[in-house]
Structure formats: C-alpha cells, structure tokens
Amino acid sequence: MNAENALVPLPVLLPVLAAGVKILIGPRRPLLKRAISVVALAAVLAVAVALLVRADRFGPQAVRLGGWPAPVGITLVADRLSAVMLAVSSAVTLCVLVYAFGQDVAERDRDTPLSVFHPSYLLLTAGVCDAFLAGDLFNMFVGFEMMLMASYVLVTLGGTMARVRAGTTYIIVALLSSMLFLVAIAVLYAAAGTVNMAQLSWRIAELPGPVARIAEVALLAAFAVKAAVFPLSMWLPDSYPSAPTPVTAVFAGLLTKIGVYGVIRAETLLFPGDHLRRLLLVAALLSMLAGVLGAMVQIDVRRLLSFTLVSHIGYMIFGVALGSAAGLAATVFYVLHHITIQTTLFLVAGLIDRRGGATSLARLGGLARTAPLVGALFFVPAMNLGGIPPLSGFLGKLGLLRAGIAQGGALVDVLVAGAVLTSLLTLYSLVKVWNQAFWSAPPDDPPNDPRAGRRDDPRDDRPQGARAVRLPAAMVAGSTALVVLSLAYTAAGGPLYALCERAAAELLTPQTYVRAVFPSGGAT
C-alpha cells in the first residue's frame, strides 16, 4: 500500500470518524457539529474527485487493506465507474446536508431529532461509499448493511405514526433483500470458493451454466429490490414520501442507484454475456411503464416523484441489458444525471411544501406568482427529467435510444418505443404538477398556514403567517447548487459523456479490473 492509493479507503473512513466524533461531542455545540459534517463530506468529495482523476488516468486504483494480498485480504477498488459514482454522490450528499441545515434552522421540529440525524446521515454516506468501493461481494454486503441500518433510523426519524408505518414496509423489504444477497454470496462461495469479485470473474466462467444462473438470479433479485425494478418496486412509493425531505431526497437519489450499480457490476464483471438479457429487458420495459402510469394518477407531489423514480430506473436497466459499450455508457451517464435530478426534485418538493403549505396538488396553486424562485427551481429539473433538450436528461435518453436502435431486434425496438412513450408521460405528469401548483389559481381557502397542526408547540411564539412565506437561505442554496450541478452536466456534456464511454469500455474489459486487484497475475 503506497501513498497514492491510500486515498481509496478515505471516503469510507472520514464519515465514520466524523460520526463518532459528533456522538462524543454530545447534544450541544450544533455549529461545531455542522462544521464537522461539512468538512468531512467536502473532504470526501475532494478525495472522490482525486480518485476519479487518478482512475481515469492510471487505471483502477486498488488497495489491499492490512497488506494482505488478494484474495485473502479485503480489497477496495476504485475504477472509473466507482470513482465517478463516488464523486457525484458525495457532491449530492453535501448539497443535501446544506439543505438540511436550512431546515433545522427554520423548523425547530421535534419530529426530527437532529442529534440523531447527523451521525446517521454520515454513516449512510460511509455505507454508500463502501458499497461503491468494495472489491469483494461480502464487503459490498457490509457496505449495503451500513447504509441500510442508517437508513432505517433516518426513515423512521422521530417515530411518528406515518413514518413508523412507512418505515416498517421499508425495513422488512430491505431485510428480505439482504437475505437474498447473502443467499447469492453463499451459492457463489459454495460453487466458486471465493467472494473476491476479480477472482469470481474468471471462476464463474468455469462454472456449469445452471449453477451460475442460480447465483446470478439471486444476486440480481437482491440488487433489483434495492434499485426498485418493477416487480420488486412496490415498497418504494409507499415508504419514501413520509420521511423528512432531505432523507427522502438522498434516498431517492442514491440508495436506488446503488442497486443499479450492483446490477452493472454483476452484469459486466461477474456474469458477462447475455444469459438474462431478455429478462432484464422485459423488467426494464415494465418498470418504465408501470412507474409512469403510477405517477399519472398521483395527486401528491412526493408520491408522484417516487413513481417517476421507479419508471426512470427502467432506463438504466435498459442500458445495462443492451450490454453494448454504447448502452453502458448511456446508462452510466443516465445514472449520474438521475442521482442529481431526482434529489433536486425531492428537495424542491420540500420547498413547495414549505412555501405552499402542502404537497397535495389539490391544495396547491398560484405559486408561480407568489414564489417565482421555487418555480424556477422546480421547472429546470422537471424539464430535465422529462427529457427536454438540451438538458442532461435528453442527452442520456438520446444515448440510450441510439444504443437501442443500433442494437436492433424486435424486443429492443419495443423498448425504444416504450422509452419514448415513458418520456412523454413523465413530461405529462410533471407538467400536471406545474400547471396545478404554479399556474392555476390559488385554492379557495389558501393553505397559507402550513403549521396549522402545530400550534400546540409551546416554543412557537411567532405569528403564523410570517413563517409560511420565509424560505431559509440554506434550503434554497442547497437546491440551487444541485440545479447548477445538473446544468453543468449539459455544459460539460461532451467531456462527461466521453468519460462515461471510457468507463463503459473499462467495464467491458474485466481484465483491467482483475489486473489491478491481482497485479502479479498469480491468480488461481
């Protein structure tokens, strides 16, 4: 382990250390604790960018923890895919953290105890980073569990009835998918005798087909539950909307994408080839259509966004299922775009809630006049998600459609048509939100008092009308930063897409990954 790749474990280490320090500090000194969070996450972002540059220039960065050679020790690997996911996700978590500060200041909300929120949030980040960097399946499982354990706490934060109800579904489904993951690990270990992903990549090739398919189906099912691919997506729209806004936003942006990351890894490194391509294509089509049809009937903004999340996971699975370099490149780009956009939309839904006093479309109206800034912050990512050129959603969808048309075949053609239809229906759902919340006349009894149910809070002595119109600067800043980041994907579209193409090329040649983990090539 030399000085350069000592960077690799830092994205996992820093948030865990910061979380520990914050717990030691205790419930007081909120400013110090915020500073620690920001510094830790900013450092993770810097490390991730450095890793991305190094991985892009010098190939995958592997580090053998404790000096044990692979496959005995635990290996962390940052290739282009890991590094770019790491960079975007740490940028997004940082922005959401800033947003959460704004919410703290304004809320003084006893439903959301902050001494619990911040350490859990940092542990969630550490788990996410660990899942991206893990070089063996079991370490990836541990990363998933770190992240999930923190997410259980976050989704039920405050323990209100709605959150307990939603959290129960979420936790049980997550536990079940963890069991599936363990089953897949056990099957692979029994058959191939290792959990190191690089070693698995050539040992699985030697396995008899049916054995490898059992392991592949179990692994894909575990990832598909996390990614919310259609038949396994029913838990998501039920459990996400009731959590606090920053939590929902970061879950929607990141947690599902870790499932997608797992699917990409499994289909390129572990099980290359097109054994289950047909199954994945059908699942992708069903996710797109089922998700967007669900979104069309929703009248609550957050639930509507949760359903569009499911439908857009379908796009990413579509690109993976194509298996071509063009399809994978478009998928990687789409994942990056979608992490940012989906998080932004959920954050803006929080702003709408605060400004308009509700998230149900039946009770919103006239926000374009009363809150033009929120309108702009909603409009740009909404159009981006709907795929309006020249925004990044359009670039990603264009890449996917071109990859699909280049591939050809009856099923792929159906998917291309389905993707276009989904894009239109997404636009329809978001325009419905726009028309109802921003352009329509205000409702008859304007819900100008979002705290109507909160008068029993003895600490609250301010007049109610004054609070309904104030948007904390940090909340706006966090959302704005994410909108700017998503616009940067368009501005830097060329280089970014080229990077995604290089990442896809690297994914399609697993030998590079294997050589980074086993530099001597002495693999048995």
Binding site: Q103, D109, R110, D111, F138, V142, E145, M149, Y152, V153, T156, L157, G158, G159, T160, M161, A162, R163, V164, R165, A166, T168, T169, I171, I172, L175, L176, S178, M179, L182, V183, I185, A186, Y189, A190, P237, D238, P241, S242, P244, T245, V297, I299, D300, R302, R303, G350, D353, R354, A358, T359, S360, A362, R363, P443, P450, A452, G453, R454, D456
Partner: protein, 180 residues
C-alpha cells in the same frame, strides 16, 4: 465428503418457516420471521464452506490428521449474525413504538393506495366529487376502512380530528406526513 445433509435440511426448514412468518401482518411475527430466515441463510453459508474439520490456523496436535475447517464462512456468518441482531432490535423498537401509537403492531395498508383504488372504482364524476369533499373534510379518506382507528398518517396535515389529542391524552405529535 459432501456437505452435511442435516445442516442443509435444517437450513431449508428454517427458511421455509421464516417465509411463512414474513407473510403475517403482525410486526412481532415479522421480527421472528426475519430472525429465523437469517439463521437459515447462515446455515446455508456454513454449508457452503464444505465439511467440518479442525479449528483453522491452529495446527492439530496429535491424533489423526484432519483437514482444517474453512474459516471464511464462519467469519461471514459472524458478521451476518451481528447485522441481523441489530436489525431485529431496531424492528422490535419500531414495533413497540407502533404499538404505543396505534394500540397494535399490525402493518397497515398505504392510505394513498386505498385512495387510488377507490378512485379507480368510481366514475370520473364521482371521483371529482370525492376529491372535492376530501379536501373539505379530510376524514373522508382513510376513515372508511378503519372507522375507529386513531391513525393520523391518513389525515392530511390540517385534518386534525377531535381535540388533537391522542387517546392517552398527550398532544398528538404524529399527524403530519412530512415532519417539516
């Protein structure tokens, strides 16, 4: 020597029992189901390690030479046990909290799902009427399926019923869906 049949059969039985328990509505049974299921999966991992042998790393003293046990599955099982223990503890805490708030620990249906289902059964005209009424009187939604439940999750944010107090007389803290 292949893997032990007894271990495999026990693991299969545990997984089957766990799946049956997971289909229940009561959260405490779900916890037991998760625990049983995870133990079944742990046995599967143990079976994956091959036949049992002497303790790993330590050289065998005297006696006939036997192969070492594979230490990796045991390390993985230890990790998995710790994780499922923590998860089960958390779910139990949630079950307790849910029991305090609602009087039982059943997992409830999603309110919005009920709304969409009801709408799909209606005509378009009836649906608009219902929405209009629901906005005016939020207890229209959710109240029909659970007429006597004190379940604030189903009530839109301004829809405090009664005096805003729970059955135990404390102020209602859980009525809002988003906690902002």
């Amino acid at each position: 020597m292949g893997p032990s049949l007894v271990l495999a059969a026990t693991g299969g039985t545990l997984v089957a029992a766990g799946v049956v328990l997971l289909l229940e509505r009561s959260l405490s049974r779900l916890v037991v189901g998760v625990l049983v299921l995870s133990n079944g999966v742990n046995l599967l991992i143990l079976t994956a390690g091959g036949p049992a042998g002497t303790a790993p790393i330590l050289p065998s003293r005297g006696g006939p030479h036997r192969a070492l046990s594979d230490p990796l599955p045991q390390a993985m099982i230890l990790t998995a046990i710790v994780i499922s223990l923590a998860s089960a503890a958390f779910v139990l805490a949630i079950a307790y909290r849910g029991g305090r708030l609602s009087g039982d620990d059943d997992v409830r249906d999603d309110i919005e799902d009920l709304r969409v289902r009801r709408e799909s059964e209606d005509d378009v005209g009836l649906r608009a009427e219902r929405e209009r009424r629901a906005v005016a009187d939020p207890s229209e939604l959710g109240a029909r399926e659970e007429p006597d439940s004190d379940f604030p999750g189903g009530v839109p944010r301004d829809g405090r019923r009664g005096n805003g107090r729970r059955r135990d007389g404390r102020p209602r803290g859980g009525g809002r869906r988003d906690g902002q």
